[in-house]
Symmetry: C2
DNA sequence: AATAAAATTGCCTAAAAGGCATCTTTGCTC
DNA sequence: GAGCAAAGATGCCTTTTAGGCAATTTTATT
């Protein structure tokens, strides 16, 4: 086994910790969670928590990083001859498939995640960590785009950051839209506008 | 006087504190600055510092917020009949006029600010605060754009966040470009690409 | 099984966060 | 211009975080 037990256990601990952090924050509010509680919940010592994350906020943000990195992964998985923006749309849509007007009866395990997102976007103390997390994601995206298009210079980063902007605006709108709109819709609308160069409507 | 001495003094203290924070961070490195030092430098008590800012990082970021808010201000000041993107370009360019291949001999007072920027973009501990700061700026920008275009929905926020993305990418490229390129150039290039809808180059 | 490498943990100190009461300053009224 | 109310500044205090260091346990390798 290439990675070995050691690596796997580390990942597991990391994920357990960040899930615990999210769960507790959702349950009792971010401010009321001590990192001590998080560590206890995950079954490690307080000190170990600190070996994994620099802060409570980072632990929560880590969940979103891991999720979001999948966009870049998905993008790399798309056929190489697919036009860039088609691939991008597909990658993002796959990522957001969670909130998808979940019919089908079975509550997706993501349902709890939606609450987590809400906490993350709401709690001011978290926004810094989230932003830093997305910066990480942006780098991955830029790399994926650079590889796919063979471009250098600002282009890949520009695209990556603009996608990040779209993600953010869409999520914000999705959370506050009343009546609710589907993420797929919002996403599509936003990407259309971006691809058109955001012309001023008259 | 509408605002009164009270408000003015508060602003002064706020600015003094955040300048002190930036200066000290540039001089001796972010980590080596105690908020106690910052307070002392600005001539207030440690406790007062805390009344103004939630953290050391916020104090530094505040400087960049104040600066960046001028973009929105500038945008509002542009003639109402100017096309949106023309106005946006002008507003951003005015903002970045600092680094402008400063000939003319006199070192702009902004020279120190450039160092400040470098610290802000470099220090990981600061990136969260910076990001939050830019979120503030994004709101102002979105409001300005909404007012100017009379649009609602995602459009204003989308434009604002995309501009933020451009700003970020341009600054990063500017700091790492070797040989150096002028900010105006980079900005122009980035905005061209965005306005064109970021088409994949072939 | 023996040993090296790496992770976990406990202990400890410095620093930060923020509540609360007190004292000053500012703004307003008479 | 004296007095009063509101807002800000300050000091004190407790809880929580941050992170270095060394000891201990666990995993990987030979």
């Amino acid at each position: 086994m290439a990675e070995g037990l050691r690596e796997r256990k580390k990942q597991e601990t990391r994920i357990a910790l960040s899930w615990a952090a999210v769960r507790l924050a959702v349950e009792r509010g971010y401010g009321a969670v001590r990192i001590e509680d998080i560590a206890a919940e995950a079954g490690v010592s307080l000190r170990t928590f600190r070996n994994y994350f620099d802060s409570k906020a980072d632990a929560i943000a880590a969940r979103e990083v891991d999720r979001s990195l999948k966009i870049a992964e998905e993008l790399r998985a798309r056929p190489a001859d697919e036009p860039l923006w088609v691939a991008i749309r597909a990658a993002i849509e796959a990522h957001f498939a969670l909130g998808a007007e979940g019919h089908g009866g079975r509550t997706p395990p993501d349902e709890q995640w939606v609450k987590g997102i809400r906490v993350m976007m709401t709690e001011p103390a978290l926004q810094g960590a989230i932003a830093r997390a997305y910066a990480r994601v942006g780098e991955e995206m830029a790399a994926a785009i650079a590889d796919r298009t063979g471009t250098t210079g600002m282009y890949p980063r520009l695209v990556a950051e603009v996608i990040g902007a779209v993600r953010g605006v869409v999520m914000a709108e999705w959370m506050r839209a009343d009546p609710p709109r589907s993420i797929a819709d919002l996403l599509s609308e936003a990407l259309d506008q971006v691809e058109a160069g955001l012309p001023a409507p008259e």
